[in-house]
């Protein structure tokens, strides 16, 4: 029972931390909408082209926006020494990684999920496509959070270029993009593609605690 309380109060801390700085989440969403705007200005207001390209734009921008907040994953807690205190509180590093991934999912990806309908209106994407888009992003965003957790834990001690983390996330999210766009455009093989995406989620979710946990342990050891 004690363990469950620890998890609940871990999320209380995350909630306080993220919702206090409300503007962090809002800036992510604003980044997402501004980049849509830029695409519209670059492609031109012609309805047909936009609806053809719209789904690709939405997904790419969702990916880019979720790599924005990689620094918030472990970097701040690591510098404060809070990561060590959480560990000394009885949570193993792998478990901290899982909790942090879900907290990144709730506080960064869910706002994007909620802003997809508006983006679809802007980009003149049909309604049935909207359902597929949110379904594929629902699973895809968790994969992106796991990849974000792995890449940001790798770059904790990387003083020189932190951008490497976003490149890692982007490279490993190629399958996510391919299958998600496949889901949206090919309605007839919907349930088999969703299962494939779910398979990828399972693999990445199984690797995440080991890879991130080991990197966190390393960084705290050699800090």
């Amino acid at each position: 029972m004690k363990f469950l309380n620890k998890i609940i109060f871990f999320y209380y801390r995350e909630y306080k931390l993220n919702l206090s700085g409300f503007q962090d989440i809002l800036t992510n969403i604003i980044f997402f909408f501004v980049s849509i705007l830029i695409f519209i200005f670059s492609i031109g207001p012609n309805k047909e082209i936009i609806s053809l390209v719209g789904v690709g734009i939405v997904w790419t921008l969702l990916l880019l926006s979720s790599t924005l907040s990689l620094r918030k994953f472990y970097q701040d807690d690591f510098e404060d020494g809070n990561l060590l205190i959480l560990h000394l509180n009885g949570l193993s590093f792998g478990f901290i990684a899982i909790l942090k991934t879900f907290s990144h999912f709730f506080f960064v990806q869910v706002p994007f999920l909620l802003s997809i309908p508006i983006a679809c209106i802007l980009l003149n994407i049909a309604n049935d496509k909207l359902i597929y888009l949110s379904a594929s992003f629902g699973i895809g965003s968790l994969i992106l959070s796991c990849l974000g957790s792995i890449s940001s834990s790798m770059n904790l001690m990387n003083q020189r270029n932190f951008l490497l983390g976003s490149v890692i996330v982007m490279i490993f999210s190629v399958p996510v993009i391919i299958f998600s766009i496949g889901i949206i455009n090919m309605e007839e093989s919907f349930n088999s593609l969703i299962n494939i995406l779910f398979g990828i989620l399972l693999i990445v979710f199984a690797i995440n605690p080991w890879a991130s946990g080991l990197c966190l342990k390393l960084s705290i050891e050699n800090n």
Binding site: N5, K6, L84
Partner: protein
């Protein structure tokens, strides 16, 4: 409580310290003395089982530390040299988070008394970022009281504290040892605190 048997740690083939022997029984204070960079923090990290010692072993309540790590972590509070309070949040939020996260059974009155003695009660609704470094460090000690565990491990607790805060520190150390707790802390100055045993690095 803790017995350290001829512990030595190597980093990148450089010997940081070798065959350290220490036995901490409830009620005594150990000080780790040494100039900067002499490996005090590394020894503390070794005790907290964060670093693998190359030679030697550590026992907790008779058993090997690695074996019953969970019980060890339930009885230790670690205060690092950095302040772990969240700068963006107010003092009140930080205390709430600490109280909840460490499932501590401290009632609010005790926290009020501690805040008064640390002269931090008037900053309760201010953001921690606005406090001075010394005050944030004093806030860090509040965590000792909130967690209410019997082994305290502190890294450089007395750095950038003014005189009456150091006096206050001595007082809390003695109360804690009186209640069968034990303390290990490192310091590069000479604090003049009553110390049961000493390790020079």
């Amino acid at each position: 409580m803790i017995i350290v048997k001829d512990l030595s740690v190597e980093r990148l083939n450089k010997k940081i310290f070798e065959n350290i022997n220490l036995s901490v029984v409830s009620g005594n204070i150990t000080i780790l003395k040494g100039r900067n960079g002499s490996g005090k923090t590394t020894l503390i990290k070794a005790i907290l089982n964060i670093i693998e010692p190359s030679v030697g072993s550590i026992y907790w309540k008779g058993k090997l530390l690695k074996k019953n790590l969970y019980d060890f972590y339930n009885n230790v509070t670690y205060i690092a040299d950095r302040t772990s309070s969240l700068k963006k949040l107010t003092l009140k939020d930080n205390i709430n988070i600490w109280k909840k996260l460490f499932l501590s059974n401290i009632n609010n009155s005790q926290i009020e008394i501690a805040l008064k003695t640390l002269k931090l009660d008037k900053y309760l609704n201010q953001k921690v970022g606005r406090l001075s470094l010394g005050e944030t460090k004093k806030l860090e000690f509040l965590r000792l009281i909130i967690e209410n565990k019997n082994l305290w491990i502190l890294d450089e607790p007395l750095s950038n504290l003014d005189d009456d805060s150091i006096e206050l520190m001595k007082q809390t150390f003695e109360d804690h040892c009186g209640k069968e707790g034990s303390i290990i802390f490192s310091s590069h100055q000479n604090p003049g605190i009553y110390v049961t045993d000493e390790i020079n690095l």
